[in-house]
């Protein structure tokens, strides 16, 4: 995709971003984000640091990333890289994001494989897992704060959770059945009721901004 397709407000529309700079920015985000929170660093560097994206650009990119399968941080790298420099840009961004973590986790994995019967290693890792449970709970609550407050969304959340965690239904089936059902409940003909009332509950949603990245 030519750079002219990117946001009109951002500097990227005028000066094409160098592939190496793209790689470097995502490499930084991938190297400093310990314990998760990669998306926050991507936002900081893309919007605050480089100014390649406006905050609105970033939010609409995040919105697409959340709807698509895969890790949000990786999806953001693919989309931003593609929008700024096409397929080579996407490859540079994803490689940058993943290389630091891949190296560190591989080294840790080899060390762990050789010492996994050491009780101290086990206890340290158990403490980390406990921290992860606390972090995942908060992240889920924060990401779903709109959905937890709406009856229809809450029902979908509970059914999805129960299907996976209680009835142990395979994820493929859960997505194939509940996914289309949920989309059907928000189908355009029902837009007057369900979808538009959802609109009112979005905090930082000031009018239509969908696809602003390419406007």
């Amino acid at each position: 995709m030519p750079p002219s397709n990117t946001a009109s407000e951002s500097a990227a529309a005028r000066t094409p971003v160098a592939l190496f700079d793209l790689f470097k920015l995502f490499f930084m985000a991938g190297a400093v984000s310990f314990g998760g929170g990669v998306v926050a660093y991507e936002r900081e560097y893309l919007v605050g640091g480089s100014k390649w994206l406006t905050d609105e650009d970033f939010l609409s990119t995040l919105e697409i990333s959340e709807t698509l399968p895969g890790l949000n941080s990786v999806n953001i790298a693919v989309i931003v890289g593609d929008n700024l420099r096409g397929i080579p840009g996407a490859i540079a961004a994803v490689a940058g994001l993943m290389i630091p973590g891949a190296i560190v986790v591989t080294v840790l994995g080899v060390l762990w494989s050789n010492s996994r019967h050491n009780p101290r290693v086990n206890q340290f890792l158990l403490g980390i897992a406990a921290a992860a449970v606390g972090m995942l709970s908060v992240v889920t609550l924060q990401l779903g704060r709109r959905q937890f407050q709406r009856i229809l969304d809450l029902a979908i959340i509970i059914v999805t959770f129960a299907a996976v965690s209680i009835f142990k239904i395979s994820l493929a089936w859960v997505l194939l059945v509940i996914g289309p059902l949920a989309i059907f409940l928000y189908r355009p003909s029902a837009a007057g009721s369900a979808a538009q009332s959802a609109e009112l509950h979005i905090p930082f949603h000031h009018g239509p901004r969908h696809g602003k990245l390419r406007s």
Binding site: F34, G35, L71, L125, I128, A130, I156, A172, A182, A195
Partner: protein, 180 residues
């Protein structure tokens, strides 16, 4: 060996594509697949997940360690490619198609409908790690220390923003010190 590698690649390609709502959403399925279809134990899965928390970048890079544990360096490479490549290709394609659905009411329907599904899956992922961590896999009894750390970390993060990396290392250290 070759068929096992192929199977490993196919399983992780499937897991990558099914990760609607991010990595957490696919954790229960990943645990099930690696423990029941391959020789990973629940405890190893939990430990490897913890390693992912210590490393920078996306936490799900820990899939490389799963591959390494099961089938060495080749396993790590295959799992990495299988888990991330199809996903990235799909995202690239969707990004280019997305613009054609500009203004389509169905685009909004997909976003609105899939959001609670993704949150439900994240709840399931959190529950899976919670069960592995807070319930002893052997005795089935609750581990009060894990429970305490999880609650403390959650409370701290709700109270204010703290670098999660610090909380991760601190929690590991606290567990190590108090477990004796």
């Amino acid at each position: 060996m070759r068929t096992q590698l192929l199977k490993l690649g196919l399983v992780f390609a499937m897991l990558g594509v099914l990760a609607v709502g991010g990595g957490t959403a696919v954790l229960p399925e990943m645990q099930h697949a690696t423990v029941h279809w391959f020789s990973l134990t629940d405890k190893q899965f939990r430990d490897i997940y913890s390693l992912g928390q210590v490393a920078p970048g996306p936490n799900m890079m820990m899939v490389l360690v799963i591959g390494y544990r099961l089938m060495g360096a080749l396993g790590a490479a295959i799992v990495g490619v299988a888990f991330f490549l199809p996903d990235c290709a799909m995202t690239l394609l969707a990004n280019r198609l997305w613009v054609h659905f500009e203004g389509s009411p169905w685009r909004l329907a997909v976003q609105r409908g899939m959001a609670p599904v993704a949150i439900g899956l994240m709840c399931a992922g959190t529950y899976a790690i919670g069960k592995l961590t807070i319930m002893s896999p052997i005795t089935g009894r609750m581990n009060p220390l894990s429970m305490g750390i999880a609650i403390a970390v959650g409370a701290i993060l709700l109270w204010r923003h703290v670098n999660p990396g610090i909380l991760v290392l601190l929690s590991g250290t606290v567990y190590l010190l108090l477990a004796h």
